[in-house]
């Protein structure tokens, strides 16, 4: 389910929001690790998505040649 609803683009936007928050310095240190965790989680999902897409495409290309 999670995968299906995961949007690379939305994730990137959320990550950038978090980054902006961290960068601004307004962020409570108590929330910092939570946010970082969230960001890292999103990044991982993005990477995973990229990898899976790449694999898919590779298999498509394999068919083509």
């Amino acid at each position: 389910m999670a995968k299906k609803e995961f949007s690379f683009n939305e994730a990137v936007i959320e990550i950038e929001d978090i980054l902006r928050n961290i960068e601004s310095g307004d962020l409570d240190i108590d929330k910092l690790s939570v946010e970082v965790k969230r960001a890292s989680e999103l990044i991982k999902q993005c990477q995973k998505k990229l990898r899976s897409t790449e694999e898919e495409i590779n298999s498509i290309f394999k068919d083509m040649v």
């Binding site: 950038e16 980054l19 961290i22 970082v36 990044i43 993005c46 990477q47």
Partner: protein, 461 residues
């Protein structure tokens, strides 16, 4: 003058006197005005000399050539001059003057110089020629075109002349069977009537000139003499003015008469004239035959040329058609090959688009995912950096707070030699908080003292 003489005596005196006075022979120039031969063979002449106008007689004398002499002189003269002794001739003769009591004066001719007569005749003829030439008529008859086919012939001759019948026989007896139409105009061909006769014959023919192709003047064959009749200026002049060509066949071997000279053509004999006319007609016919064979030859050449032309066309027709067909065949084969080549080329060209798109797809995907990857990497980097920054900032802040605290810590203040003074537990910061005699506590780093205020001072330092 008293002595009386008989006529005879006188005549004898004249004779003797003449004889004594003129003992020699004399060469005398004279013109014959009359000549006749008597039964005995003697020749009697009358000699004259004219004034230069050639009309009036200036001198006249009788002459005689005795028969024995005459026979010799006659043939001698004719042999040399081609002429017989006749009226009008100028002669040079050797004479002895004789006088006979019965017959009177006469010149006895013993010799004759024919060369003189020839010269005279030639001179006379020359004068005629010169006159004709000066009048510009000499060659007028020659200038008339000779008819191609001389078939209609007017003949001037005397009917009984042998030459005429020779001419007619020759003409009618031609082997080619040519027809000639002849008309004889009779006239004397010698003697004093010759001139008038020929001229009137010519005039008669001229009136009907459209009936004839030409005029022939012929004279009996054999006669060598009397040629000079045709040296006549009048005859020659009429011939030059004649509208038709005139041919002469007057019959002579040595010389030509003036008429011969001005005639369109002069031939020696009537027979020769006839042959000439036959030749002319034969020539015309031959000419026709030649022309016709030329026409045939050229026609055959033309036909042959055209046959070749047609044959050339015939020979070219089929090969050209075949060449055309095979050229078109080649063109079609060329079209096939071209279509195959161009079609394949087209396919190759069309194939470039998808092939290009394929490689673009691969690289686009690659750059797409590497773009995304780099975004993620940058994000990770930012996250790390920003987080580290945030931690550092807070570490510094906390450290700053620690420092401030340690500076503010009382024990540290005391250690540096400061003391804390308090009054009733409250730290004193200002002098007005206490008055004299108040007890105040002063804390040192190592203990405390109690003190009484003795006095107060204004800050004056």
């Amino acid at each position: 003058m008293t002595e009386k003489l008989s006529l005879t005596e006188l005549q004898l005196i004249i004779r003797d006197s003449l004889y004594l006075a003129l003992p020699d022979m004399y060469w005398v120039i004279a013109e014959i005005s009359e000549i006749k031969e008597n039964y005995a063979g003697h020749c009697y002449l009358e000699l004259i000399e004219k004034y230069p106008d050639e009309k009036n007689v200036r001198a006249r004398a009788k002459a005689i050539i005795w028969s024995n002499r005459y026979r010799f002189l006659k043939s001698f003269f004719e042999n040399i001059t081609g002429e017989s002794l006749m009226e009008g001739l100028k002669i040079l003769v050797k004479t002895k003057v004789e006088y006979h009591e019965l017959y009177g004066l006469s010149l006895v001719i013993t010799d004759i110089d024919p060369v003189f007569t020839i010269g005279e005749m030639a001179m006379k003829r020359q004068l005629v020629i010169k006159k004709l030439e000066e009048e510009g008529v000499f060659s007028m008859n020659k200038e008339i075109d000779f008819p191609a086919v001389p078939q209609r012939i007017a003949i001037i001759s005397s009917k009984n002349a042998a030459g005429y019948s020779d001419f007619i026989n020759q003409l009618t007896g031609n082997s080619s069977g040519y027809i000639f139409y002849t008309a004889l105009i009779e006239t004397a061909m010698q003697g004093t009537e010759t001139e008038q006769g020929v001229i009137s014959a010519l005039d008669k023919i001229a009136l009907n000139s459209d009936l004839f192709d030409l005029v022939v003047i012929i004279r009996g064959g054999g006669s060598q003499s009397d040629l000079s009749w045709f040296d006549s200026y009048n005859i020659a002049y009429h011939v030059t003015q004649f509208p038709l060509p005139v041919i002469t066949g007057i019959g002579h071997d040595k010389d030509m008469s003036v008429t011969d000279m001005v005639a369109n053509r002069a031939l020696k004999t009537p027979t020769a004239v006839a042959d000439f006319l036959i030749d002319c007609v034969a020539g015309a016919e031959n000419n026709l035959i030649e022309v016709s064979s030329e026409i045939t030859d050229i026609s055959r050449i033309i036909i042959e040329k055209n046959r070749n032309r047609i044959e050339t066309s015939r020979i070219r027709l089929i090969p050209l058609s075949r060449i055309m067909i095979s050229e078109i065949k080649d063109r079609l084969s060329g079209n096939i090959i071209e279509i195959i080549n161009i079609g394949k080329e087209h396919i190759i060209r069309a194939g470039l688009a998808p092939a290009n798109q394929e490689s673009r797809l691969v690289s686009a995907v690659k750059s797409f995912s590497s773009g995304k990857k780099s975004v993620l990497e940058r994000t990770i980097q930012n996250l790390t950096d920003f987080t580290t920054n945030a931690l550092d900032r807070n570490n510094i802040r906390v450290a700053g707070l620690g420092n401030t605290l340690s500076i503010l810590k009382p024990e540290n203040v005391l250690k540096r030699g400061y003391t804390i003074t308090s009054f009733n537990g409250r730290i004193l910061k200002k002098s007005d908080q206490v008055k004299t005699d108040d007890l105040i506590d002063t804390q040192f780093s190592d203990g405390a003292v109690k003190s009484r205020i003795l006095g107060k001072f204004e800050m004056g330092i």
